[in-house]
Every structure is written in C-alpha cells, then in structure tokens.
C-alpha cells in the first residue's frame, strides 16, 4: 500500500514549482537567465541582484520521471543526434527544438548565458555548445581536473580562478556588481542545508530504514533548483525532522525490510515508482545511492564537509567540485562505497550499468569485483538508462534483482 504523501513531499512540490515560477517571473522582469550544469555553484549567481539560475539536467530528469523522456529523445534523434548520446541532452535538445512545449513543468526560461562544467562529464560542455550555437549566446566552461586522490591545491586554485572569471563575465553582461555579502550568505545557506540533508540521509541507518534511495532521488532536486536560499534550508529541515519523527513512530517505507540494498548510478527516473513498489513487495529496500549520498561531501567521502566561516566561500565551492562520484577515480569510489556499506549495513549492491552515463559506469566492473571481495556480499549488474525508458528491459533487470535477493538469502541460510 502506498504511503500517504509526506509534508516534505508536499513542500517539495511547492518549492520546485515556486522556483520555476520565480525564474519565469524574474526573466520577464529582465533578469539574466543562466542555464548551468548541476555542480556549478549557483551561490555565485545569488551574489547578483538580478540573475536567475536554472538547471537543464534537473528539468530533463523531471521530464524522464513524468514519462515524456522517450518522446523528447526521439525529437532530438530526428534532428540527427545519435541514440548513443546521453538521454539528458537528448531530452533537453528535443524539448528546445520542439518550441519548449512538452514539459511536465512550464519548462525553463530562455537563457542569456550558459555555464557548463566537465567534472561530471565533458559531454555537458558539448551539450551546452549545442545551445551556444543554436541560440547564439555565450558559453562559459568550467574546467575541473579529475581526482585520483584528494583534490590538489593547484587544482583548487585553478577552479577558484575560473569562478572569478565567471563573476567578471556576469558583471560585464549585466552591468551589476557582484555582492560578496549576498554570496557569503548564500554559501552559508547551502552549508546549512547540507547539514539537514545529511541528517535526512542518516535515517537510512535505522533498521528498517527510514528512507528509500528513491526518496533521496526525488528530494535532491532543491539542491539544484534552490541552492543558496533560505527556502532550501527550510525544506531540508522539514524533511529531516519529519523523517526522524516517522522513524520514532515506527513508520517505515518498507516495514517488512529483509534486504538493505545500495544502488550505484544515476536514478532510474522512469522507474521510480514502479521499482520501489516491486522491490517493496519482495521485502527489499534500496536504502541509499552514492548519487545522493555524495551531496555535501568531498571526493571519496560521503561525510559532511564542513563550511568554514574563516575561508573564502569560493574556496569552499571549489573544494567541493569533485564531490559527485563521476569526477573521481576507482580507489576513491571504493573508499566512499565501503563507508556506505559499513555505515548502513548493506546486504547487497546493485550496479546499474548506464549506457547514458559512461563516466559513472566505466569503472563499475572493477568496483563490483572489489566490493564483492572486500565485503563478501552479493552484488549484481543490471543494464539501464537513467532517462530513456526505451533502453530499459524491466523483466531482464528484475530477473537479476531477484537472483541477488536469493543470493543474499542463501548466504544467510548458510551462515
């Protein structure tokens, strides 16, 4: 039986709708609209009076979750964009080329500036280049060196330098002066929100878990749409408070939780409801995912990285640029996942090999081997695409998932 919608769920809808409406309102009033990649520190734009920030990846994920992904992908494919390209840009390009009409929201306001980065993937830069050419607007590229170990000081300084150049560009484009106090306040809001976010994720430690990874997938949205705002802090406080309260009251998403699983990759946006329901029927709960555990951390660590009032916020923003799994290597990924397995008492790991996200996926075969050897827990690899439902075979995936659960069961029986 489906749980009734939580207060945080209702609040999430209001917050997201509000942020989209606000973006449109400010755009109509003449604000500069920035389309940015998800890890770009939106706090920088809060340092300006009249700049709005939107995230095409988040909009694409929303389109996928509302089942319009394949239709939009097909539009892009009809323009010549290969089906092998990531489904996020195919959705986005399909949406833009279709006159911005097909969207579960009102879409995004037309941008005046594009800001990509290559820490999650270089294809974001290629994707934003498509808009840069078609819309004839500037494209600022943030270049983030990959980490095979802790981020190096020289790389951090290089990123900070680019943020300063970005600020100069926005000043030049808008004629506004960057307000360091506004930026500082926005950075603090984000840091506070991260603390609340981690408190929410901590509820997965409970047995049964107080959350599912699907909850965290849905609830990550404000991190992209409302970064640097008091509204985001308030939302994550409501979310963490309510989730903790539910745990206290014994209200769990999978009350009969027999299997605690970890999901490795981007959310399967088109399968959110169906997958959580089917797994719940089997007593299985995917309680966490590196994709959302990483928010608020650093490369190789899912633990909260504390904001320091003594440091330049640009330093903090640069220091966290490699946090999102894709921008770091196998050793670091193994460290982070090991922490999660131990802290959360994981029984099995689902490696979702994602054709749309090679940067996340190309490493999983070795990571799977490492994790299986290190923890003696069963793991499974399934094929998926995070936003193009046409590339997901439900029955094939479930056959493997059921085998994973049987494996866990047989190991328990043998113990």
């Amino acid at each position: 039986m489906a749980r009734e919608k939580t207060n945080a769920g209702t609040h999430l809808t209001q917050l997201i709708v509000g942020s989209y409406m606000d973006a449109f309102k400010k755009w109509k009033e003449g604000a500069l609209v920035v389309w940015g990649a998800i890890v770009i520190p939106a706090e920088i734009f809060r340092g300006f009076e009249n700049v709005v920030y939107c995230v095409p990846e988040t909009h694409a994920a929303l389109c996928a979750a509302k089942n319009v992904g394949p239709e939009l992908c097909q539009r892009a494919e009809a323009l010549g964009y290969s089906m092998d390209l990531c489904s996020y840009p195919r959705i986005d390009i399909g949406w833009v080329s279709g006159g911005r009409k097909i969207s579960p929201t009102s879409g995004l306001p037309k941008p005046g500036l594009l800001v990509s980065d290559n820490n999650d993937c270089s294809l974001l830069t290629k994707w934003f280049d498509v808009h840069h050419r078609n819309m004839n607007i500037p494209h600022f590229m943030v270049d983030v060196p990959f980490c095979y170990g802790p981020q190096e000081e020289k790389d951090l300084e290089y990123i900070v330098e680019q943020f300063r150049d970005l600020i100069s560009l926005v000043e030049k484009m808008t004629g506004q002066t960057f307000n360091i106090d506004r930026f500082f306040k926005a950075s603090i809001q984000t840091a506070l929100a991260m603390g609340e976010w981690k408190r929410f994720l901590e509820c997965a430690k409970n047995r049964p878990s107080g959350i599912t990874a699907f909850d965290s997938f849905a609830q990550m949205a404000p991190f992209f749409t409302s970064r640097g705002t008091p509204e985001m802090v308030e939302h994550y406080r409501i979310l963490a408070d309510e989730t903790e309260e539910r745990v206290k009251e014994g209200d769990f998403p999978v009350p009969d939780e027999k299997y605690r699983l970890l999901w490795d990759n981007i959310a399967p946006w088109h399968q959110m409801s169906r997958m959580s329901t089917r797994l719940m029927e089997l007593g299985a709960n995917i309680i966490a995912a590196p994709y959302t555990l990483c928010i608020g951390g650093l490369e190789g660590s899912f633990e909260l990285f504390q904001f320091s009032l003594d440091k330049d916020p640009l330093w903090y923003m640069a220091r966290t640029q490699n946090m999102s799994v894709c921008p770091y290597g196998l050793d670091l990924r193994t460290d982070a996942m090991s922490w999660a397995i131990e802290e959360l008492g994981i029984d099995g790991v689902i490696f979702a090999s994602n054709r749309s996200c090679k940067v996340f996926s190309v490493m999983q075969m070795d990571q799977q081997r490492r994790i299986s050897e290190k923890f003696d827990i069963p793991t499974v690899m399934i094929e998926m695409d995070h936003a193009d439902a046409r590339k997901f075979s439900e029955e094939s995936a479930y056959m493997r998932l059921e085998a994973l659960l049987e494996n866990i069961e047989s190991r328990r029986a043998a113990a």
């Binding site: 290969s82 092998d84 290629k126 280049d129 590229m141 290089y158 196998l330 090679k358 490493m363 075969m365």
Partner: protein, 374 residues
C-alpha cells in the same frame, strides 16, 4: 607492419616505452628525454581481457587500448602517459592496473597531465599548464633517472616537425591522386607505432614513390573526418568507388599533425601554444567554435563536394557536433555521408559498399549536372 612490431623495435633499442593514451600527448617531450612514446590508437585484434573490465558501450579505441596494456604478455610497456583526452580515457588508468594485476603483470608507472579545457579568451590557464608540464618533467626524471634539457627538446621538436611536414606532403599526394587513400592510411597508422626517426624514413620513402601525379578517372572530391581513419577494407571501398580524398579531419592524422608551435621560449611555453593553437578537435572542448570554421575552410580550399564522417561508435564528442556540422556543410552544397564503425563492423566492410558507391554516384551525378554533361 603490425602495430606491436613497431613497439617491439623501440623496446629492442633499449628505450623505455611509454604507452600514451590518445589523442595529443606531448611526444616531443617524452622523446627528448630518451623515452619511446607511442600513441595507443589504431590497434587491431580481438578484445577479451579488457571486456572483463570495461563495458561494451565504450569505444573501440578505449577497449583495444585496454586490451593491449592489460595483456602485455611481452612486457612491452615501461610506463603510461595520459591526459584528460576524453571521459572514458580518464577513467581507465586504475582499471588497467586492476587488469594487469589480475593477469600477474607488474604495475606500470603512470604519468598524467591535466590539459586546461577552457578558451584562452575566457580564462588564462597558461600558468596552470606550465606547472603541469614542469611536474611531468620532474616525475619522468625521477622515474627513469633521465634528465631534461631544452637543447634535446628542441631537437625532438625539429624531428616531429619534419614528420608532421611529411604527413602533410603525403596528404597532398593523396589529394592530387598520387597515392591511394588506403595506402595513405596504412602508411600513417604504421608510422604511428615507429620511433619518429623511422617514421621520417617511411614517410620519405612513400613520398618518393607517390611524387608523380596520376591521371584519374573523373571522380568526386571528399574530405574524410573521424577519430580514426576507416578500417582498411573501407578505405579501399572509398578508393574503389572513385572518391578522391582531398583532405582529412581525422584525429589520428590531420588533427594531430596539422599544427605545432613554430616559436616558443621553453618546453612549458611550447605546450601552452601546442594545446591552445592546436588544430580543432571535438575533444579539445575549447576549440569547438574554431572547428566549424576550420572544417568549412578545409572543404572550401580543397574543393570537396562530399564529406565522409567516420563515426567512432560511442564517441559522444564526435556525435554531438555532427548535426550542426552536417547542416553547415549542406548549406554550402556539400553532401555528407555519415558512417558508423564499431568493433564488430570492422570485419564486415561489405555492408558499407552500397552506401559508399551510392554516395559516389550521387556526387558524380551532381558534378555532371553542374557541368552540363548529364
């Protein structure tokens, strides 16, 4: 010559062999320090060990590179160099070490540089890159007990400059019909695995033979583009269809040898200029605006009326730019033939015959119509 034969020769000469990930490693620097750099693309053969580590939706370049480095039963490699050439490649170094360990091979020293992927007019990253190059030199000196000198570096730059100039001459020979495209591709891919001194000998010998202009059947002029040249059988199909390749935008060819700094103050400055002013490539993220201008100029200057895109299956860098490129070329009256090559397709070249022949007929037909001879 098989790719590994060239590497064996470097190894036998006693130089430490550095397997360089594509696309544009600092070959001159490595060579100047007494190392034998080889760019690991254009490799052939089945992929098996690597498939236990990398999904089959990675491109053939990554899978074959991984196969050769992981397998390496002969111990051909003494080190690996890579830069942030593409997302898949940046994920590989640790995977290769895992694979080697699994097969009982020694771990390889790994050297890395981050090449700034920002437009110069946006962010001045020259100091960052200078520092990267300096760190690389220090690491190489420490690993192999070698020392760097600007004099040796200048000599290596001159050698690679000669090789690049010869490649351009050979390219011209193909354009005027003095050499088959298939022979050209075979020569350049063979040269890739040789020490630069031997590359020069090979290229000179080919130029000597190809010097004479040959009378050709009326044919259509095309530019070929892609990461790698087409597989040999497809090159031959292009030749057999009567298409003359008057220019190429192949990453392993023209994009690699078209430009290099003519003036520089030191090794670090050389590579700042090398990457900043490089012939545009889909993987050099800051060069995409320049790329369309460079390609349309190439097409116009060569008088090409056709453009053959050799799509490396799963190379998103290339595929993101194809629709816009196609549109721009068509606006100029240039027909485009997009072909997609995957590992599995390489042995089934006949499936491309009809498309290539039909494309040649379309171009010939258009030519005849324009000249009023239809």
């Amino acid at each position: 010559m098989k790719p590994l034969d060239g590497i064996r020769r470097s190894k036998e000469a006693g130089k430490p062999v550095i397997g360089c990930f594509p696309l544009y490693p600092p070959l001159e620097l490595l060579h100047s320090m007494g190392l034998a750099p080889v760019v690991l693309w254009g490799l052939r053969g089945p992929v098996h060990d690597a498939d236990r580590h990398i999904q089959n939706f990675a491109c053939s370049v990554a899978r074959r590179l991984a196969q050769v480095v992981i397998d390496d039963a002969e111990g051909l490699f003494d080190g690996i160099f890579f830069y942030n050439g593409c997302d898949t490649l940046r994920n590989l170094p640790e995977i290769l070490q895992e694979g080697r360990e699994e097969l009982g091979r020694d771990a390889l020293p790994v050297f890395r540089v981050h090449v700034p992927m920002v437009p110069a007019e946006q962010t001045d990253a020259s100091a960052y890159l200078r520092n990267e190059m300096q760190n690389l030199i220090v690491c190489l000196e420490s690993a192999y007990g070698l020392s760097f000198s600007e004099e040796s570096f200048a000599e290596s730059v001159a050698l690679y400059g000669s090789a690049r100039a010869l490649c351009l001459q050979l390219e011209e020979a193909v354009a005027r019909g003095g050499m088959a495209f298939s022979d050209f591709c075979d020569t350049l891919m063979s040269a890739n695995f040789l020490p630069v001194e031997e590359q020069i000998e090979l290229l000179e010998s080919k130029i000597a033979v190809a010097g004479e202009e040959r009378a050709l059947e009326p044919s259509s002029r095309v530019v070929v583009s892609g990461i790698l040249p087409p597989p040999p059988a497809i090159c031959k199909l292009i030749d057999d269809a009567g298409l003359t390749v008057v220019g190429n935008d192949v990453a392993a060819f023209h994009r690699s040898y078209a430009r290099a700094p003519q003036e520089w103050s030191d090794v670090n400055d050389y590579y700042v200029r090398f990457y900043r002013d490089h012939f545009p490539c889909t993987t050099l993220l800051y060069s995409s605006d320049a790329r369309f201008k460079a390609l349309t100029s190439m097409v116009e200057a060569s008088g090409a009326d056709g453009f053959v895109f050799i799509g490396e299956k799963f190379c998103e860098y290339e595929y993101f730019e194809l629709p816009h490129l196609e549109e721009k070329l068509k606006e100029k009256g240039v027909s485009v033939l997009p072909l997609e090559i995957s590992i599995e397709d390489e042995s089934t070249a006949e499936t491309y015959r009809t498309r290539i022949e039909a494309f040649a007929e379309v171009l010939a037909g258009a030519e005849a119509t324009v000249s009023g001879t239809s």
